[in-house]
Symmetry: C3
Subunit: 396 residues, 3 copies
């Protein structure tokens, strides 16, 4: 059996240098070289094409995929479950309680106890600023120690399913979507993408999506425009990082307080609400103290503040400023007149591009599967070729 | 390897016309032709026999089976999980919250987000009269739209695990049970089945079981007698449907307000409690309004009303009216002196036929697996023959 | 492919008489002959070595492993899930509610309803003294009845994942750990093991671990020393049993009220907190009555009583009394200055032997898998040889 699309994806993988992905965790896209990121896309694409061709890329006969969510999430949960299942792993949930922040001995011990026959641990921990990423690093160090001491036959790899800093499975799915919409990653060079804040009648939305987008799209020569109302800035360090990436990749990174400015001539728009960095810092402190009164007051203040920027909505008028831009969203979007009175996007804009947002979401299971596969398989090129050649049907 | 029972089941399937089941949802038995219903029984029987012969009918190497329950249910949950697992699918629960009724955008989006690598969605939604079936239809339409737009590689099929109108996996398991007890579906012609209300010290039990029974058994020429105390009627439209089915199939459908009348000379009795249609309507309204006081009052009224009919109990005396009838129940039954002081059935009656009720329940996993298989496989006759011929062991 | 370690494990199995394990439940180690217990170790070891050699011991193409926990437990839950998955079974949770004690009809019916396509049921029920073991026996009898009546094609076997009397998957993992640390089960003869109470600032910890240890280690000629403060005795009947076992196996069983005495020249120490038998009896009664006030009072009394024995801590000083003993714990341990101010073990002692406790825990998934395999496979020697010879990779 031969399949040109699959063969092309594997060929593009074989041209890349990505050895560092083997036996390592996928925590932040900016820890990864552009070639490694392209390798993830190539494998994700190959897996997607295999599914179209009814070829099963099952690489495990058994093994667990641990899912550790400190947050409810239908989408990411199903994406992780789909990815694990596609490769032959069974999902086992670890329910740690949402608010509890484990440290030290507990983290170290739990990490080992759930890992004796596990291949991957997917973690979502985006509630506390300054905690999610650190937690994943701590789990990873515990696993490495235990593996080196011979206590774990295999070291499970960690996939960051959203932390306080980055949301790499989202941003990489977004990148794959863009690559497919614009004819390849190389064609993204010079494309204008507006990552902007948008109004929402809710508060406390995490920063990881916009941070993930500016931290990733600046790596590929895109013109990245970040726009938000004054005071709604992201983690300063990540904004700085993005500026540096843009310089390195021959792209640009500009920051403004105007949605219109960001939308002007944009090829892609990504209007999405988030809470200001300083609010998330206050919120984290109040959550740690379990200060429910303080949290309520903060929420009220924050919602009132938000309302000042109710016109940060992705309307048809605003879309006219763009070059018939592709609309992106990690979903669910706050759609004006549908999920709320006034929200991030006008119903007509969303309706017109709904399918595109669903297509965008559809890459996530394959991106996660690619991250798992590249972390567990020493010779992915050889293995994928073998799988494609054997052509074992996924469904009879 | 050759197995006569399996071969006979496949042969009976090959004589039927059931092509419409492919790529479609199983929502209501009355949407299905008698041949399609017989096809489900034939496949269910073949799968059951394969299990006896230790042959694995695994048709998927990977894929998700989404389980969406708005209600707790050990039995149906395990049946669905068993069916999915038998065919090679991994169950992933979607926990939407019990009381929330999603509509429109949310349904459409969620339906797609859980379906990128899913083969089947099992839905149980029987809380709200006039909502469960509609919800399933809405999910199905969303899936079809997304599939046609190329957003879903495969369209998962929906299996109704109980809605406000029908409970097809229960009624089809019941039919398979009857076919096996009476020597085939054709032998059911003319058999008298009493589907009667029975007293229970609880309220709010759904109507879908009795509706499912009268809507299905009238299709096969049975003499179906529905009996309930005045005021305890089912959804009127379904009672009408059943009468029509009986006329078409050469059976009868009679309605009375006397348990004794229904039991007279019956071959099969199915005494089971339910709430009156008009109470379920009130309840639905109160639930929507979250009127907890109103719900309590309604419950008290309803329980008091129920108590007037405490003698609607399937006792030994009543069983003497029948032709040593087969006792059926979807379980758990309210057994007098066991699970409650006075209930649907006397302990001695239940004890004598407990095994039969367990056997009845045992068909459900296979019925669900058959529904899944017929909706996903284009040539089930060919596939089942191949599986039987290869004889891959389920357990080494 | 040939692997000496695997071959040796299978050879050791083939020398044993263990036929009674087939088609039976694993509830209490003292229901099992020493050869049967050695068979579990041999299979567990073989499975562990297969995993090291990347050979998949998958024996089921499908089938459910039901997990029934009346208690939260990350460790045992993951061990059971890992074991089931390794053999090819999918875990399905039965969530019965924690406090409810089902009896009679309900147990019988539920047991059958969850078992139509199930191979094993893992039960953890350690909350109520005098209830957990009885519950498992009742489930087992229900399954046997249903199997004999032809209602269950296969009878799932039960694995006790902790009851009020024994914790056999823990104690057997502990035994395998000891066998590996001391060069074989035979080398344990005469080794001194101190199973002692230790202080913890909590109450209500189950007795099943110490009971499991004294009930198992006395079977293999060890010198078992049980020590606890006056009043903290275990179920009397099990202490008596242990004494008898020691006599039969040529070991000893001594009881004292001094941690120092037990630690003197010990080769192994197992310091662990538990609630006194009579407190657990009171607690069980209060729990049944749902007497929350009574439970609070009991807890306060018990904690105050515990504090009198705060020096029952496994310190470096105490460890000096031993022959550089191996420290054991079922985890998580209450570590002084880490998980609590004062606890079961000093941080320095735990730190020095942390890895050993993790290694100890790592045997549990394999022990559970061995129990399942031996209960389901008629000729395990032949099957394991075939699996080893075929060498199907677990991970590509």
């Amino acid at each position: 059996m031969s399949n040109k699309a699959i063969d092309a994806s594997i060929a593009s993988l074989s041209a890349l240098s990505f050895g560092e992905l083997y036996n390592s965790d996928f925590l932040l896209t900016w820890d990864r070289s552009p070639e490694e990121l392209r390798a993830v896309l190539a494998v994700s694409q190959a897996l997607k094409e295999m599914r179209s061709a009814n070829i099963s890329p099952r690489i495990f006969d058994s093994g667990l995929a641990v899912s550790l969510f400190r947050d409810n999430s239908t989408r990411t949960r199903f994406s992780f479950a789909s990815a694990a299942n596609l490769l032959g792993l069974a999902v086992q949930d670890l329910d740690e309680g949402k608010s509890q922040i484990a440290h030290g001995e507990t983290v170290r011990e739990t990490a080992v106890m759930i890992s004796f026959l596990s291949e991957v641990i997917g973690i979502r921990d985006d509630m506390f600023l300054g905690a999610g990423h650190e937690y994943m690093v701590e789990v990873g160090e515990s696993l490495s120690l235990a593996h080196e001491a011979g206590l774990l036959e295999r070291r499970p790899s960690i996939v960051n399913l959203q932390c306080d800093r980055d949301h790499p499975t989202q941003s990489m799915a977004d990148l794959q979507h863009l690559a497919n919409e614009f004819g390849g990653v190389d064609n993204l060079k010079g494309k204008k993408i507006a990552m902007t804040w948008a109004y929402s009648p809710s508060y406390g939305k995490p920063l990881s999506v916009p941070q993930g987008i500016i931290g990733l799209m600046t790596r590929f020569g895109m013109d990245v425009r970040l726009a938000y109302p004054e005071g709604y800035n992201l983690i300063p360090d990540i904004e700085t990082k993005a500026a540096g990436f843009a310089r390195q990749s021959g792209g640009t990174f500009t920051l403004s307080n105007s949605m219109d400015e960001a939308f002007k001539d944009a090829d892609i728009v990504y209007p999405k609400s988030w809470a200001p960095f300083h609010v998330m810092q206050q919120r984290t402190e109040l959550l740690r103290k379990k200060d429910h009164e303080g949290l309520k007051t903060l929420e009220q203040q924050c919602l009132a503040e938000n309302r000042k920027f109710i016109d940060w909505e992705c309307t048809e008028e605003k879309m006219k400023l763009t070059r018939e831009a592709l609309y992106m969203h990690c979903l669910p979007a706050d759609i004006s007149g549908v999920s709320c009175e006034r929200g991030e996007v006008a119903a007509s804009v969303f309706d017109a591009q709904r399918d595109a947002t669903y297509r965008e979401a559809g890459y996530k299971p394959y991106v996660i599967a690619a991250m798992i596969l590249l972390s567990k398989v020493k010779d992915p090129v050889g293995l994928l070729k073998r799988i494609a050649a054997e052509g074992k049907p996924r469904s009879l």
